[in-house]
Each structure stands twice: as structure tokens, then as C-alpha cells.
């Protein structure tokens, strides 16, 4: 009998060690998978060799050891891998990993309370928990939340959840002697709180974003209408003015004022033919509201920045095909224009941006080209995610365009840098 218990105990220790090893190794693995690493391969290996044994040994040394191991892990990972002075994105990732380990602690505890005391004698639960963790980290938006504009709020949410989990865990284990039922209730309450707060966070974020884009559409629509009406007014003025001038010219034909009138005519024809006044004409042919708004807002910015430009759209473009999410198309064009404008501002007087919207046999071609500086930069450099020539820039580049066009099988995109021009061409069906 003693023999069997002996074997069982020895077996148990090995199982425990294996389980612990797997979970610590997974912690490391997941961290490297989800974090942008700014260290070299050699440094990473050195880091693992030095820290892994410490974390592993302390984790196995009871609750106090486990606590120390966690504290050590968080600190070392953060200090080594933070990218700036304060990097909540990296810290947030570490804390999410920690939060998950507390969560799995509790789940294991619950299972052992409900089903059997010996459930943890098999390392299966460790494996299942880690596979589940892999799935949550890699396939859901949990990590992505840290990187968007609301990342900081999400970070504080994680800190809050972590503190409450750890608090409950240590309070119930050491300070208060609570019975099983109460413990279960506490764990259940805090788990529900976790799910609920994540849900609230996500839905409030979505509401805010929807509101923002709705407001933008509204702004653009108003703006479009205003521009169109002022454009119509201008055209009418041009027409009337030219007629008046013509009749004035006829009546003054034989008088001495002829020379003066001629000068006036020359002057006004120069002003009225001035391209900037009439360049919006072709935009009228774009009937799709969103597309038109985009063109108007971008052309207006180009005009405000004193960049030479032209816009051609000879065919009527009714509306974009339902196959596409209009916002994706708009964003692709928006990024292209922003890049063109950015480059034009660097270029100065030489700058020019030409646009052609062309329709033929159910196909829509949009070509946007801008003069660019002679650089050694290749398209490949620009395609790299986050490429930009400017510091402190959002870093939206060609990579984003490719990402946006990815879901559509009939959008073709082409870029060329040739003879001092950058040309963007997009072909899609209409």
C-alpha cells in the first residue's frame, strides 16, 4: 500500500513539474508571438537563458514563490522590451498574459472543487488551457485593442481586472478563511464582471466610431452642396459677364474706348479662363455621393495648398458597385491623395497632382499621379507597413492600401515611379 502511494506521489511531482514547465514556456512563447520585438535574436536567446530558470524555479516554490516569479517576470519583460520611456502597449501585453494565468488558476481551482481533487494530476488541463489561451490571443481582437487610439483606456481596464482578480485570490487564500460556496460565488462574480466589462468596452467603442464616421459623412455632404451651389453661381456669373462684355465691345466698336475695352476683355478672359475656377466641372459627373465628397475635399485641399492640379472625369459615374464597401474604396483613394499631397508639399513649386476617372465597358479606372522627388526609394520601401518619409506621421502607406483591397477579387492596383512621377492606378468593375 505504501508503495503505491509512494509511486503516486513521485509520479505526481513529475507531472506537476511538466505542467509547470509547459505553462512557463507557453508564457514566453505567447509573449514573443504578440509583442513587437526590438531586440536581436542573440539578445532574445540570452534573455531566455538568464530569466527562464529563475521564473521556472520560483513558480514552483509555493504561492509566495509564484507571486515573486510573476512580479519578476513582469518587471524584467517590461524593462527589456519596452520601446520608449513608458510603453503601455508592451506592459499591457504582459499584464494580459498574467491576467489569463490568474483566470486559469481560478478555473482549475473551480474544476478541482466541483469535479475531482485529482483533476490537476493530469497535465491535460494545462495543455487545454494553453491552447485556449493561444486561440484567444491570436484569433480575437484582445491584443489589437491595445494598439488603437483607445489603447490606454483598455490598458487601465486590464490593470483593474488584474488587481481585482489577484486581490480576490490572495485575500481568500490567506487573510480570510472562506468556505467553498462563498469562494465559488466570488470567482463567479468576478468572472462575470470580466466578461461584462469587456463587452461594455467594445460596444461603447463601436458606438463612438460609428458616430464619428456618420458625422464625417454629414460634414462632407453639406460641404459638397455648398461647393456645388457656389460653383453654379460662378458659372452663371461667367456666362452673364462674358455676354455683357461682348455687347459692350460691339457698341464701343467705333468709339475711342475700343483700346480700353480690348484691354479689359483680355484681362477678364485671362481671369475667367483661369483653370482653378473651373476645374471642379468634371466633379459634377461623379454622381456617387461618397466618391464625389472625397474628390471635392481632396481637390480643395490641393487647391488650398497651392499645388497645381487637374481632374478629369468625362463619363458619368453613377454609383459604385454594391460589391464593394464604399468606405474601403474611399480610404484607398484618401490614402493615395494624402501621400500625393505630402510629397507635393516637399516638392514646392514643381508639384502637380493629376487625376483621371475613366469608365469603359463596365470597368472603372482611377488614375492619380503626382510629381515626386528623385529618390532611391523604391515601391518596395513604401510598401513596408508604416513607411513614411516624415517623422511623427501616422504611417499610413501602400501596405494599408493593399490590406484594404485584399477582400476584393476584382480590384487591381498598380504603382509606378517613373520619370519623376508617381502613378497610382486602380481598376475595378462598376
Amino acid at each position: 500500500m505504501t508503495n503505491i502511494v509512494d509511486i503516486y506521489n513521485r509520479y505526481n511531482i513529475i507531472i506537476y513539474a511538466v505542467g509547470l514547465f509547459i505553462s512557463v514556456a507557453c508564457d514566453y512563447l505567447f509573449f514573443y508571438l504578440i509583442t513587437p520585438i526590438n531586440r536581436s535574436k542573440k539578445q532574445n536567446i540570452l534573455f531566455i537563458i538568464v530569466t527562464f530558470p529563475i521564473v521556472f524555479l520560483y513558480s514552483g516554490a509555493g504561492d509566495l514563490g509564484g507571486f515573486c516569479a510573476e512580479l519578476f517576470e513582469v518587471l524584467v519583460f517590461y524593462i527589456v522590451y519596452k520601446r520608449g520611456k513608458r510603453d503601455y502597449q508592451v506592459l499591457g501585453r504582459i499584464l494580459i498574459l498574467l491576467l489569463y494565468s490568474y483566470l486559469s488558476f481560478e478555473i482549475e481551482f473551480l474544476l478541482s472543487q466541483i469535479i475531482s481533487q485529482y483533476i490537476s494530476t493530469l497535465p491535460i488541463d494545462t495543455i487545454v488551457i494553453n491552447i485556449l489561451e493561444y486561440y484567444i490571443l491570436m484569433k480575437t481582437d484582445i491584443i489589437k485593442n491595445l494598439d488603437d487610439e483607445d489603447g490606454k483606456t483598455f490598458f487601465y481596464l486590464i490593470v483593474y481586472l488584474l488587481v481585482s482578480f489577484a486581490g480576490i485570490y490572495y485575500l481568500t487564500s490567506y487573510l480570510f478563511d472562506v468556505d467553498r460556496v462563498l469562494n465559488l460565488i466570488l470567482v463567479a462574480v468576478i468572472s462575470i464582471q470580466l466578461i461584462f466589462s469587456l463587452y461594455i468596452y467594445n460596444s461603447s467603442k463601436k458606438i463612438r466610431q460609428d458616430k464619428l464616421s456618420l458625422q464625417q459623412i454629414k460634414d462632407l455632404k453639406t460641404y459638397t452642396q455648398q461647393l456645388e451651389s457656389s460653383q453654379r453661381g460662378l458659372r452663371k456669373f461667367k456666362h452673364d459677364y462674358q455676354n455683357m462684355l461682348l455687347s459692350l465691345k460691339l457698341s464701343a466698336k467705333k468709339s475711342h474706348d475700343k483700346e480700353l475695352i480690348d484691354k479689359l476683355a483680355e484681362y477678364s478672359s485671362k481671369i475667367l479662363e483661369d483653370k482653378v475656377l473651373w476645374q471642379f466641372n468634371d466633379v459634377d459627373n461623379v454622381k456617387d455621393e461618397l466618391l464625389k465628397s472625397l474628390f471635392i475635399s481632396k481637390l480643395n485641399r490641393i487647391f488650398q495648398d497651392n499645388i497645381q492640379y487637374s481632374f478629369e472625369c468625362r463619363d458619368v459615374i453613377d454609383s459604385l458597385s454594391n460589391k464593394y464597401n464604399a468606405f474601403d474604396i474611399i480610404r484607398i483613394l484618401g490614402i493615395t491623395y494624402d501621400n500625393a499631397i505630402e510629397e507635393s508639399l516637399e516638392l514646392g513649386n514643381e508639384a502637380r497632382i493629376d487625376t483621371m476617372v475613366y469608365r469603359e465597358n463596365g470597368e472603372l479606372e482611377i488614375e492619380i499621379k503626382n510629381r515626386c522627388r528623385n529618390t532611391d526609394l523604391t515601391i518596395q520601401d513604401m510598401r513596408k507597413s508604416g513607411f513614411t518619409t516624415k517623422k511623427n506621421h501616422d504611417g499610413l502607406g501602400l501596405a494599408n492600401i493593399e490590406e484594404l483591397s485584399q477582400p476584393y477579387n476584382d480590384i487591381f492596383i498598380n504603382y509606378q515611379i517613373k520619370d519623376g512621377w508617381f502613378t497610382f492606378l486602380m481598376v475595378m468593375s462598376i
Partner: protein, 264 residues
């Protein structure tokens, strides 16, 4: 050297004469600057209407002609204009170099160029000096285009983006790879990239200059920077790296020998 015909068409006789003179100077200035002493261009027809040019092309076989066309060939809008004439010329002389001459400055040049494949748009309102300069430039561009289209026909790789045909010099092509979309390939060149619908196997069979280095990648070996035989990685000029399968090692070795490539 072969001589290429120049055809001028404008409904105003004065303008035809003016352009004739300016083009003649442009030919001289081109001959002065060119290395070859041979004559390249000759003005073969001065016309005032659509029908004159059309008749001439019906009777004479013209190859790689240079055409200076007025867009507004008639006061009557219902009549055929220079754009229609350009379309007719394209059918008769596919390698035609068409240059439009117009009085309108506010013309949608990019659109017309796209529609007709025209080489250039020139406004005739400019002074003679300005116009002369533009004509010199555009004629020398036309000469280059004709020369290229004859000598380098075999050196061009063409692909279709919808209805638009894009031509690339094969020396500029780095590689063609598959994308996550089905039947969609990406071509990367020295100066840009594009997408088209196609099939790797078929492309490999049709183009001798492309070598298949993996299931998903065709390479132009002359633009490979280095082949690493131990890690089985090929690096291209733009920094792109592609891994080749173990069984292709022998093929890579032969490529290295044939193209004198760098190895590690």
C-alpha cells in the same frame, strides 16, 4: 534605315502650313542631334479633312507613321473629329504615333490619351518658339517609341489590368508571385508593382526569361542579388526573399553558373 511618314491634318490651311514648317525644323534638329546620318522622317501628307487622311491610308500602307491631328476638324459637331480619325488610324497602322493639336487648353488630356493611346497633346495657341520646342520634344519621343517598338518587341512583357494593357521591359522585372486571392498574381519591377489575373505554370511555359523557383514564385534570374544554397533563400534587388525547395538545389546551381550569380 527605314523612313517613317509624317501626316498632318488640320481644317485650317494656314495652320497646316505653320505646322508643316515647324515639323520640318523639328526633323532637321532631330537629324542634327541623332548619331545616325540617315533620314528618319519625311512629311508625306498634308490634309484638311478626315476623308483625305482616310483615303490616303486606304491606298497606301503606312507603318509606324507620325500623325499630327487637329481635334476640331470641322465646325459641325456631328462630323467626325480628330478623335474618330485617331481611332481609324489605329486600325490601319497599329504602331501609329498620334499627336493631337488643339486650340482648347482646358482639354481632358489624360482621358483622351487613355482613350486613343495618343503620344502627346499640344496647344496651337502658343507662340511659334514654344510650339517649336514642344514639337522637337514630341518628335524625338516618337522616334524613340518607334525604335523601341521594333527593336524591343521581344523584350516586353505585357499584362492586362482589366482592359488596360501594361507593358514592362523584361529587364525591369524582378519577380512574379502568387497572392492570397485565387488566380491573382503580383508582378514586381524595378520601378513599381502591379496585379493581374494569370497562372504561374502557363507564364513559365510562355516566357523563357522567367524561371520557376518555387510553387508561388517566378523569378527573372538576372535580377537576383544572391542565392544562399545552405538556407535555400533567394534575395532580390528590392530586398524580397523567397525560399526554394530542397529538390531545386541542382537547378539553382545551374542558374548560378548560367547567370554568374552571387552565392553564399
Amino acid at each position: 534605315m527605314k523612313e517613317y511618314g509624317i501626316i498632318i491634318c488640320d481644317d485650317e490651311k494656314d495652320q497646316v502650313r505653320r505646322i508643316h514648317d515647324l515639323v520640318k525644323y523639328a526633323i532637321w534638329s532631330l537629324e542634327d542631334s541623332a548619331d545616325s546620318k540617315d533620314k528618319e522622317f519625311k512629311i508625306t501628307l498634308e490634309a484638311n479633312s478626315y476623308i483625305e487622311v482616310a483615303d490616303y491610308l486606304e491606298d497606301n500602307k503606312v507603318d509606324s507613321g507620325v500623325y499630327f491631328l487637329d481635334i476640331e476638324l470641322s465646325r459641325d459637331r456631328a462630323d467626325k473629329d480628330g478623335i474618330d480619325l485617331a481611332e481609324f488610324i489605329r486600325q490601319k497602322d497599329p504602331n501609329a504615333q498620334i499627336i493631337f493639336i488643339t486650340a482648347y487648353e482646358n482639354l481632358a488630356a489624360m482621358t483622351y490619351r487613355r482613350r486613343t493611346g495618343a503620344l502627346d497633346f499640344i496647344t496651337k495657341n502658343d507662340s511659334d518658339e514654344v510650339l517649336q520646342k514642344r514639337l522637337n520634344e514630341t518628335l524625338s519621343l516618337a522616334a524613340r517609341r518607334i525604335r523601341e517598338s521594333h527593336a524591343i518587341k521581344k523584350m516586353t512583357f505585357s499584362y492586362k489590368m482589366g482592359r488596360r494593357i501594361i507593358n514592362e521591359n523584361i529587364n525591369d522585372i524582378l519577380y512574379i508571385i502568387t497572392t492570397p486571392k485565387s488566380h491573382r498574381l503580383r508582378i514586381v519591377t524595378v520601378s513599381g508593382m502591379g496585379e493581374f489575373t494569370g497562372d504561374i505554370k502557363k507564364l513559365e511555359a510562355e516566357n523563357d526569361f522567367l524561371e520557376k523557383i518555387s510553387q508561388s514564385c517566378l523569378a527573372n534570374p538576372s535580377n537576383i542579388v544572391e542565392i544562399n544554397l545552405s538556407t535555400r533563400v533567394i534575395s532580390f534587388k528590392d530586398g524580397y526573399k523567397e525560399t526554394f525547395p530542397r529538390r531545386s538545389k541542382a537547378k539553382m546551381k545551374s542558374l548560378i553558373e548560367r547567370y554568374n550569380l552571387k552565392t553564399v
